[in-house]
Symmetry: C2
Subunit: 248 residues, 2 copies
């Protein structure tokens, strides 16, 4: 197994960092690595906002509720960005581009582009001995994040990535068995996934009961049903439309 | 610069593969690497469909139009998948889960989850000396792909990933300068990105004029305006809704 695959398989989210900062060179390498990820038709429909201002981190922490959002060595915010493309065009051209820019297809493109770049940033950071955690909880109040970052139309905040030197050593969280997510040539009906999910529930019960911190009695199935049973972040829908994306 | 970062920075899409196949162990390692990527609240809202059937590859080629879709050592199809989650619930619970499952937020979650996994698969493959190319063109006829893969409700095909041993050695395509995609603490207005985009247009003019195959006279700006001026893949919007995603 090569060093790259070891880095990938060794991934755990890190939520507690030492005070050690990153060098400008490290940040540069992480962002350049992000940029080299594939991008749909070279559109590069994303922007990355580095957060260095502690006041801004504190405000983002209020949205997220996670302390690692204020306490980290560096934070990157990944945005879906079709504003840049729109601004290339003159007034007449903008009219022709409107249908595309406002389609669900382009929301999907921008989200994929941003996520591919972010995962490259993650791997680059982890290869340097840094730890990371994705911050989806910024979408708890997406309007507030939009305001804080002064995002123009056609740009939406998708998620954050906090980075730093690890100050804890959490276990690797088990994933669903490969047979429940990997199919061959056509979608495997749920009935054929079920036994693997049951095995995973047993594995997770044991993982939660025995891990080094925050032990609890839970299974994946119970967690998911609880999580999805209360509508959350329903304001993402009107927010995205208010930015003139996913409108048609 | 470590081996991992070299792999990231050396990325070029590979569109021509030798006849050499992948071993089952290689495929397993690639998929396991994909699974170890971060996932929103451990939801794992994606499925990966490995395409081994040449007839299916040929049908997918008809949708995509790219020969590497039929000629490759292996192909992975990444789907956003909220069906698995929905099936965990009983009839009553399903009712409570509907709002979440059908929200734009969950379309974004599923798309991010799938893309993070795919980029790990990419890096794993490239670290083994394999080449890859993302296939967004499957969304040229998303209804047909849905039919071919027999996807249930709450599952949508997002993109493919073709993998194999490289049979050509294309140049690394330049990206936008870091200063046009990387911002600090707030979004950098377009006027401040413009000079970097102009520099990129000059760089791309030279890249397209001098690369080893398929030379042309073009700039990024002209390409983007042409690309976005004709509405394309507008049927993705109703398709996604027909799968009961992005509906509210």
């Amino acid at each position: 197994m090569n060093q790259v695959i070891q880095t990938l398989l060794n991934h755990r989210s890190i939520r507690k960092f030492t005070d050690r900062k990153l060098s400008q060179e490290q940040i540069h390498t992480i962002v350049k690595s992000a940029q080299q990820a594939s991008t749909s038709s070279n559109v590069m429909a994303y922007s990355i906002i580095g957060v260095t201002d502690q006041n801004l981190k504190n405000e983002l922490y209020k949205v997220s509720g996670h302390t690692h959002v204020k306490n980290n060595a560096h934070m990157l915010l990944f945005c879906g960005d079709l504003h840049r493309i729109n601004q290339l065009a003159n007034t007449e051209e903008k009219q022709y581009m409107e249908s595309n820019l406002e389609s669900t297809e382009q929301l999907i493109v921008a989200t994929i582009d941003a996520a591919l770049a972010a995962q490259n940033a993650t791997i680059a950071a982890e290869s340097m001995g840094l730890g990371i955690c994705y911050i989806g909880s910024l979408r708890n109040d997406i309007n507030r994040v939009n305001e804080l970052l002064e995002l123009p139309g056609h740009v939406i905040p998708l998620f954050g990535l906090v980075i730093g030197y690890p100050d804890h050593n959490p276990e690797i969280k088990p994933r669903l068995p490969i047979d429940s997510i990997y199919h061959e040539n056509k979608y495997k009906p749920f009935a054929e996934q079920e036994q693997f999910i049951e095995a995973y529930d047993n594995e997770m019960r044991s993982y939660y009961g025995n891990r080094s911190s925050n032990t609890k009695v839970d299974t994946w199935t119970d967690q998911m049903i609880r999580k999805f049973s209360t509508p959350t972040r329903m304001d993402v829908t009107p927010f995205v439309k208010s930015k003139n994306l996913n409108k048609r």
